[in-house]
Symmetry: D2
Subunit: 329 residues, 4 copies
C-alpha cells in the first residue's frame, strides 16, 4: 500500500511545472473556436437521461449554504482582502408597512426585497472568465474581454442550460476515517482513485465530481469562519489536473473556499491549480458547496452517485454565480 497518498503531502512546484502543465492540458479549440463553456460540453443528453435514472428515493439534498450575514465572508484571513462580503438583503416593502396601513393605497399588501452580493461570496460556480492565464482566458480569448462592463466572452450565462448530469461524490474525509481533513492536506490523483474504488464508484466522462474535505463542518465545529476564505485548507493537489483532464469530468466541486490545497505547492503563484483548471482546461469549478448532509446520506445508502442539478443564474457577463445545487437521489 502506497502510504504517500495518505500523507496529504504534495511536491513543490516550479513556475516551469506550471507552464508545462498549461501547455500539456490546454483544451483551447477542443470544443470549437467559439466555445465558451469548456468541459461542460462533455455531458451528453444520454448522460442526462442516465443521471435521471439515479433518482430512486426521491430525496433532494441542497448543497448550498444560506445566503446571509452568517456566511463565510468578513472573517479573519491571511489572504489580502478581495472585497467580498456576505449578502446584504434589504426590504423595499414590508409586513410592518402593511400592518401600519401605509401600503393600502396600492390595494394590495405585498412585500419586496433586494440583494447586494458578490457572486463569489458563498456557494458558487466559478465561470470560465474568473481566472486568466497570462493575457488570455478560456479558449484563448483575449483577457481584455473581461472589462468593467463584464465578461464579453465565457460569461456564466452561457451555461444556462448546463449543470445537469450525473453527480459523483468522493468523500475523501470519510474514506480516510476522519470528520475532516486538516488544513494543508493535499488530495492527490492517486487518492481520488483510492476513494472511488473504496466507495465502489467510477468517475466518468461528463460527470460532475464533488470532493468532500469536511472543512465546512470543521468551521461549523469551531463556530467561526476565521481562516476559511483565503486561508489554509485541505484540497486538490496539482496532479489532479491531469487526472481531471483525462477523466473528462464536466465540472469539479469542493466544500472549500478555493478547491485546491493551501498553502499552495508553490510560492511564486497563488492558486496554481486554478491557473490551469479554469483558463486552460476550461473546467468549471464549484466552491463553498456544503457537502455534509450529502456525505452522510451517501454513507448510509452506499450510493455515491446521484442526479446533480445546479443551475447558475444567467447573469449576463458574470464571472460566477451563486447557486442552490441539488443532489437528487
Amino acid at each position: 500500500m502506497n502510504k504517500a497518498m495518505f500523507s496529504g503531502k504534495a511536491p513543490k512546484l516550479t513556475m516551469k511545472d506550471l507552464h508545462a502543465a498549461a501547455k500539456r492540458l490546454k483544451n483551447w479549440g477542443r470544443f470549437g473556436k467559439d466555445d465558451e463553456i469548456g468541459t461542460l460540453n462533455y455531458t451528453t443528453p444520454d448522460d442526462i437521461v442516465a443521471a435521471a435514472r439515479l433518482v430512486q428515493r426521491g430525496r433532494v439534498i441542497s448543497l448550498a449554504l444560506k445566503y446571509d450575514q452568517t456566511g463565510p465572508q468578513g472573517a479573519k484571513s491571511k489572504y489580502p482582502a478581495l472585497g467580498r462580503f456576505n449578502p446584504i438583503h434589504l426590504m423595499t416593502r414590508t409586513g410592518t408597512d402593511a400592518y401600519s396601513g401605509v401600503l393600502d393605497h396600492r390595494k394590495i399588501r405585498g412585500t419586496d426585497d433586494i440583494i447586494i452580493m458578490p457572486l463569489q461570496c458563498g456557494t458558487q460556480w466559478d465561470g470560465l472568465g474568473h481566472i486568466l492565464y497570462g493575457d488570455h482566458m478560456w479558449n484563448g480569448y483575449d483577457c481584455r474581454n473581461v472589462t468593467s462592463a463584464g465578461a464579453q466572452k465565457a460569461g456564466i450565462e452561457k451555461t444556462q442550460e448546463k449543470m445537469v448530469g450525473r453527480g459523483v461524490l468522493l468523500d475523501v474525509a470519510r474514506a480516510l476515517g476522519k470528520r475532516w481533513l486538516p488544513d494543508g492536506f493535499a488530495i492527490g490523483a492517486e487518492l481520488l482513485d483510492y476513494v472511488a474504488e473504496k466507495q465502489k464508484v467510477a468517475v466518468g466522462k461528463g460527470d460532475y465530481l464533488l470532493v468532500r474535505t469536511g472543512q465546512i463542518e470543521h468551521k461549523f465545529a469551531l463556530k467561526t469562519w476565521d481562516g476559511y476564505s483565503g486561508g489554509d485548507a485541505p484540497g486538490l493537489a496539482f496532479d489532479t489536473l491531469e487526472w481531471l483532464h483525462k477523466k473528462q469530468v464536466a465540472a469539479i466541486v469542493t466544500d472549500t473556499w478555493g478547491a485546491e490545497v493551501r498553502p499552495n505547492q508553490i510560492a511564486e503563484a497563488n492558486q496554481p491549480w486554478h491557473w490551469i483548471a479554469i483558463p486552460c482546461i476550461g473546467l468549471t469549478v464549484g466552491e463553498i458547496f456544503d457537502l455534509a448532509e450529502l456525505g452522510r446520506d451517501c454513507a448510509r445508502d452506499k450510493r455515491y452517485e446521484f442526479m446533480f442539478v445546479a443551475p447558475a443564474l444567467p447573469i449576463t457577463g458574470a464571472v460566477g454565480s451563486p447557486v442552490n445545487p441539488l443532489a437528487i437521489k
Copy 2:
C-alpha cells in the same frame, strides 16, 4: 361546446367574493401549525422519482430570462412604480486590470463581480412572505414577521430542498391557435381543463404547473417591455384558485409579470388572485418564466410533462428569489 371559456372574459368580483374565497380556500394549519412552505408539501418523494423518469431525451430547457439591463424593469407602466430595477452587475477585478498588470502582486489573474438586484426583477419565485392577507401571512402568521430585517417566517430559504417535481405545461396560447393571448384575456378553470385534455396531459397533486400565455414573445415581437411589468396582461382568472386548490398543485408558474389577468376582475383590490393564492392557499408562484422554447419543444414531441427543477437561492428572510428554472425532458 362552451364558447364562454374561449372568450377570455371573466366575471367582475366583489370584495365579498374575495373574502369568501379566502375563507373557503384557506389552507392554514393544513400542513402543521409550524409550516412555512405551503403547497410545496404536496410533492412526495415518489413524485420526484416519477418525475425523473420523464427524462427521456436528455434535453435541458432553461425558462429564465437573462439577468441584465435588457430585463423587463424600467419600461413604461400604468402601475405605480414598485422600486424594481434591472440587475446591476459590477466588476471588482477585471481582465483589463490583469492586462494592465495591476493584479500581478496577487500572483494570480482573477476577476470577481457583484450583483445588485431586486429579487422580483426577472424570472422569479414569489415566496410565501410576498403577499399578505389583512394582518396575516401564510399559515396565519402575523404579518409583522416581515420586517425591514426580512421575513422571519416563510422566507424563501425554507424552500431550499423543494422546487423539484413533475412539471406540466399548459400551453394555452398554442391550444387556442394563437402566438400569444391578448392583454386582458382571462384563463378560467374550464379552459385549463380544455387545454389539458387537448394536450392529453393530466394535472395532478404535487405537480408544478406552468401556464403559457405567450406574453413574453409578444413583448419580444414588439421590441419593448413597455406595459409588461404591472401592465395589462393575459392571465389566470379568479376561478382558477378553486381549481388549483382542488388539484393540489405544488406551485403555479406563468410567463407574465403577475400570473393573473389584468385589468383585474375587481377595482377595489389589486391582484385579487394573489390575495388568495399566496397567503391563504400557501401557493408558491413563479413569474416572468420564459416558456417560449418549452412550448415549442412540447408541441414537437407532444409531451407536456417533464422533470422540473427550479431551486430558489436560499437567501435568508427573502420574500422571493431569482431562479434559473430547468425543464428536463
Copy 3:
C-alpha cells in the same frame, strides 16, 4: 471647586425621568406645526454673517473620516448588529479599461464609479427621522411617516440649506488635560460650562456645538475600531439635554459613535439621550466627526469658534446623511 463634574459619573435614570424630560423639553409646535428641521431654525441670517466674520486665517479643516473599508463599521461590538457596513466603492469604467483600449469606441477615456453605503456608516448627520419617541417623530408626526419608502416627514433633504453657522468646539478632553476621555465618562452640563469658560468661549443660540472626547484618536492609537460602533464611550450625560435646550443650539456634534455616554445611565432604554434629543427637542445630531485636528488647531490659536459648513446631501426621505463637515477659521 465641584469635583463631581470631573468624575465622569452621572446618576442613574428611571423611565419616569426619561418621560418627564420628554415632556419638559418637547419643542413640538415651537417652529410651526409643519416644521421638519427643528432646532436648525435657531440660526438666523445674521448668525451666518457673523459666522463668516470668524474666518480670519483662511484655514479649512475637514472633520470627516474618509469613506472606505477602513471605516468604523464591522469591528467587534457589544451592541447587536445594526446592519451597517463600511462604504463599498465600485468602478464602472476604469483606467485599466482605458489602457486596454476597450473604451476607445466611446471616443473618450473616462472612468465612473458607484457607492453603496449606509447613511450612518461614518461621519454623519442624524436627521430628525432617525429616532422616534413612542409612535411619534419630531414635531409630533406619526412615526408611520418613516416607511420602507423613506421618511415622508423630516427627511434630511429638508436641511438642504442649513448646516451653516458659527461652530464652537468644546474640547473636553484637552480641557481636562487628557488625550482622550475614558469609556463611560459622562460629560455633564456643568462640565460643558466649565470647558467653555476655560476656553473663553460662550455657546449661544443657533450655534453648532462640537464636543470633543478624543475617542477617535483613542481608537487610532489602539489601531482598531473594536468597541467603537455601539460600544462603551465617553459622551454627553442626560442632563446636557436641558442645557442644550436652554442654550438653543442648532445642532450638536461629537467624535463618538453615539454622542451620549455609554454604558447608558439606564438599563431599560438604549441611548436615552437620543430618545429626547432628536424626536422631542428636534435637535440634529452629528456623529463620528473627527475633531482631532480641529482640537489641535484651536489649542494653538486659542480660538474655539469658527465658521462651520457641513451640508447634508439632500437625499429625499433619508434619515441621515454622510457629510464632509468643514471648520473654516
Copy 4:
C-alpha cells in the same frame, strides 16, 4: 460689436487642434510632481478669508438637485448608456417597524438607511481621475492608477479640504435675455468676458466659476429629463480652455450634464473639452449644479460673487462625488 460671440456657434476642431491644446495648456508638474488636486491649488488662504467677507445677507442657496428617483438618469438619450442610474435609497429599520413593535427589543425606536448611487448620477464633482488623456491621467500619472479598486492617484478624497473660496456666477442665459440657452449653443471665451463685464464682476485666480445656461430650468419646464444626460446641450466652447487656464480658476461648474457644448465641435472625439480640462489642465469640474435660484438671487441684488462651499465626500479612490454645494451670500 462682435456678433459672432452671440451666435452660439463655435468652429469645428481637428484632432490636431485637440492635441495641440493638450500640449499648450498642460499643467503637469506645475504644482509639484506629487500633486493630485490640480487647479484647486490656486485658491489661497487669503482668498478664503476674502470669500468669507462676501457673506453679507446670511442667505444660503443650495445648488444641488435632490438625490432621488426623480433625478436626471434613466431618461432617453442619444448617448450610449454609461450605467448611471438615479440613487436607490433603502431603509434598514423604519417607523413602521417601530409602530409594529418589532424594534422594541432594542430598547430604542430608531431608523436607518442605505444609498446605492453612481457618483456621477446627480449634482457632482468630477475628480481628476475621471477623464484620462491617452495612457495618462492628471499630472502625468499612468492611467493604470485607476483600477477596479479605485483611483490610486488623484482620488476625490484628496480634495477633502478644498472646494471653499470665492464663487462667481456668470449667468450667460440671463445676460443674453433668455430663460435658457438652446441646445448646441457654444459659450466662447469672448462671451464669458462679455457677461462678466455686463455683470460687473471679474473672474480671478483661485475662483470657483459657475456658468449658468438655464438647461435645468428648460428640462423642468419640459417636465422630462429626456435628452439631458448625454444629450445635446448649451455649453462651453473649446476656446474657453485657454481662457480658464489663463484666469487660473480653481474649478468650473455648469448646470448641464457635461459642461461643454453638445453636439461637440469635433466628431472624432467625444467631449473634447474634457480631454484637456481634467487630465491636462488639472481642472476640477462640477456638473448638474442647479443654478436657477442662485441666478435669480444674483439678478436681484446685482452681486454675482459669494462665498462658495461645496465639499466633496472624501470617498477614498473615487473619481467623483455627489455634493450639496452652497452659495453663501
